[in-house]
């Protein structure tokens, strides 16, 4: 898994790429939680994520919970089909705000 953080308007966009699994999910968790220290709007670009497992989903849930606690925004964007499928299987597709593209998330 790789990641890149960019600043777009008032949001920090975290673009992950590759696979978020048991090996990389602790790093993903750290990256997301750190973002909230400097910004109150985080959009995760999932377009280049080819696979995410339940430990990766758990990292996203933790970030969402942290956002709710601090009154920040946390949304996901451009999830690929396998990623969407895992969120759906985890019954979490309704829990997250999911945008088709990062731009949709910025203008919403």
């Amino acid at each position: 898994m790789k990641h890149e953080i960019s600043q777009k308007q008032d949001a920090s966009v975290v673009a992950f790429s590759g696979e978020i699994d048991l090996e990389s999910s602790p790093a993903a968790r750290e990256i997301l939680l750190q973002c909230f220290e400097s910004t109150s709007n985080v959009i995760v670009d999932l377009s280049e994520v080819s696979y995410i497992d339940s430990s990766g989903v758990a990292s996203l849930v933790e970030a969402l919970q942290a956002a709710k606690k601090s009154g920040s925004r946390f949304s996901l964007a451009a999830a690929s089909e396998p990623t969407r499928r895992v969120l759906e299987l985890a019954r979490l597709d309704k829990v997250f705000t999911l945008y088709d593209t990062v731009d949709d998330g910025l203008t919403d």
Binding site: D21, E23, V57, E62, E81, K94, V95
Partner: protein, 588 residues
């Protein structure tokens, strides 16, 4: 008579006034009269007043009062009074005054002259103008519990003073009164219990009447509900629409007991009422959900499947809100699950449609659709093991030659007659319009494909293992979307081995064997970690969305069969997962 409560004079009253106590027959007559009164009435107030009247009359007192102990408030309440001053209703603190001490110490008192007694409370005399000279007081003790006391004031003769014989008499009468009051209390409790149990009986009857009556064949829907207790939290129902289609539903209310039963009745009524006009199952569920959310009972929810079967086309429209996936047993012998598209009802407002409660379309094609509650899959067999989805499908396969009603009967009889206490309701519904019986007529003769992958159980190995699964699935002819699902499920299984099985020991190796034959793909994942109790590996959705426990739920959602076994070598665990490719082939 020798064990009567001691009195303050510490003298044996039998030695005094023997002449006055000779009227034994009168005494007996009073006792029998009192017992007669007490026996015919179960009304405590009436009992008390009658008893006091007789006692006052017999002991020849100017007045008397009967106090009952109110343990909750630690007070004595005057329930009956006889004489020139009516003190009915006054309350005293237990332990205070002569009556209070009598009850607290469970001892009788005779105060020949109250003016000489420091315990006497003058306040009542002062407020009423009555002049108390002498007092008799005896406690009443029922079945091992304090009940209260009877107090008599002023002997109605020239002296106005009571004798020890009077006290002895009062003690005897107080004991009889205590017994009568205690009996009346018990009778009241019994009547109340009787009423509750009758109400429960009526409620049970009422609830049974909500279930539809069985229709003779060839009606396509049949169901069974076997409640664990008097009231059920499960329900099913079906009815015909004017155009020949049949609406059916099955639900399970969270929790057990009366509150669950009432919510069940409400939900079942909503289905029957709204189903008459809303002819799309997902719209119906969304509407019922809205109703339940509006009047939500904190923390209670309903998992529910609802569907519309068209016998003309064999098509079923189905919607599933948080319920165990219904299983379609196709003619070729495969089982296909329809997992929930939405959370249970009564929690969040949901829309009907792709973002909320989805409508699924199935074709029976002479197969049978089974819908059941977790009471079925989690029901105990005679050997103590849970039936599970695999056990369920096995019974259905065994009884494939029977009509649908007998097939579901076969499942229930395995769970119902085990001699074990059931803790959950068992509810099962079958939709079957076939004219011929199902047979396992799979006629594939292809050679099986077998591939093996052994790897160290470490997080860094997961990606390679998933690639191996993905390739094997493609080689077996799985569709792309099914391969995605199988990679997710097997990925979670391997992740569990890495994360949990080898948690406390040094990571060893894991072996994944994939066998594909006759339209079935089977995965066997074996490790050499300490054996894990399969009880701990049951899928249980967390109540709050959040991390943890998801992997097992995802595996069960995707796979058609999941089985946790001890490894054949004796050391380690074996997870067997099966997916029927054949019945899902039209999916792309």
């Amino acid at each position: 008579m020798s064990d009567f409560p001691h009195n303050k004079d510490r003298r044996d009253p039998r030695r005094f006034d023997r002449r006055k106590s000779t009227n034994v027959s009168a005494h007996l007559e009073l006792l029998s009269k009192m017992s007669g009164h007490l026996a015919v009435t179960l009304n405590i107030e009436e009992t008390i007043q009658k008893a006091l009247d007789l006692i006052v009359q017999f002991v020849k007192a100017e007045g008397g009062a009967l106090f009952l102990l109110d343990e909750k408030n630690n007070t004595l309440v005057c329930m009956a009074s006889v004489g020139p001053v009516d003190i009915h209703g006054i309350t005293l603190k237990t332990g205070e005054g002569i009556v209070g001490q009598c009850v607290a110490e469970n001892s009788s008192r005779i105060v020949r002259d109250v003016q000489q007694d420091p315990d006497f409370d003058h306040s009542v005399d002062e407020s009423t103008g009555f002049r108390t000279r002498s007092i008799l007081c005896a406690p009443m003790v029922g079945h091992f519990e304090k009940i209260g006391a009877i107090e008599l004031v002023n002997k109605s003769d020239a002296s106005g003073l009571f004798s020890d014989t009077d006290l002895l008499m009062l003690q005897t009468l107080a004991s009889a009164a205590a017994l009568a009051i205690s009996n009346a209390h018990m009778a009241e409790d019994l009547v109340a219990q009787e009423r509750v149990s009758r109400e429960l009986e009526l409620a049970t009857e009422m609830q049974r009447s909500l279930l539809p009556t069985a229709r003779p064949a060839p009606f396509p829907v049949c169901g069974i509900n076997l409640p664990a207790y008097e009231m059920s939290g499960d329900f099913y129902d079906f009815f015909e629409l004017g155009d020949g289609r049949v609406y059916f539903s099955l639900g399970d209310v969270s929790g057990k007991g009366m509150d669950a039963a009432l919510l069940m009745s409400k939900t079942a009524s909503l289905f029957r009422c709204l189903g008459k006009t809303l002819h799309e199952p997902h719209v119906l569920l969304a509407t019922i959900n809205r109703e339940l959310c509006e009047t939500a009972i904190h923390g209670m929810f309903v998992t529910m499947v609802c569907g519309l079967f068209d016998p003309a086309s064999g098509e079923v429209q189905l919607a599933n809100a948080g319920h165990e996936p219904p299983l379609l047993h196709a003619r070729n012998g495969s089982f296909t699950a329809t997992p929930a598209s939405a959370p249970p009802l009564g929690i969040l407002p949901l829309e009907a449609g792709d973002d909320g409660i989805r409508k699924e379309t199935l074709h029976l094609d002479d197969g049978t659709l089974y819908i059941f509650t977790d009471g079925v899959t989690e029901g105990d067999l005679a050997n103590g093991r849970q039936l599970g989805v695999d056990g369920f499908t096995a019974i259905i396969r065994e009884s494939a030659g029977l009509p649908a009603a007998e097939r579901i009967e076969a499942v229930v009889s395995r769970l119902g007659n085990t001699g074990r206490t059931r803790h959950d309701d068992i509810t099962l519904l079958a939709i079957d319009a076939s004219t011929t019986c199902l047979t396992d007529d799979i006629t594939h003769n292809s050679a099986p494909m077998v591939v093996l992958h052994t790897f160290p159980a470490r997080a860094s190995e997961l990606q390679a293992a998933r690639e191996f699964v993905n390739k094997a699935c493609a080689d077996c002819g799985c569709s792309k979307s099914m391969a995605t699902d199988l990679v997710i499920a097997v990925g979670e299984a391997i992740q569990n081995v890495v994360r949990h099985a080898y948690k406390d020991v040094e990571a060893g190796e894991a072996t994944l064997e994939i066998v594909c034959k006759d339209g079935i793909i089977e995965f066997q994942l074996q490790d050499s970690a300490p054996t894990v109790d399969p009880e701990k590996l049951k899928p249980e959705w967390p109540e709050e969305p959040g991390p943890g426990g998801l992997g097992i739920c995802i595996i069960h959602d995707i796979m058609d069969e999941v089985e946790h076994l001890p490894a054949p070598s004796g050391q380690g665990n074996l997870l067997r997962m099966v997916k029927y490719i054949e019945s899902n082939r039209d999916e792309t």
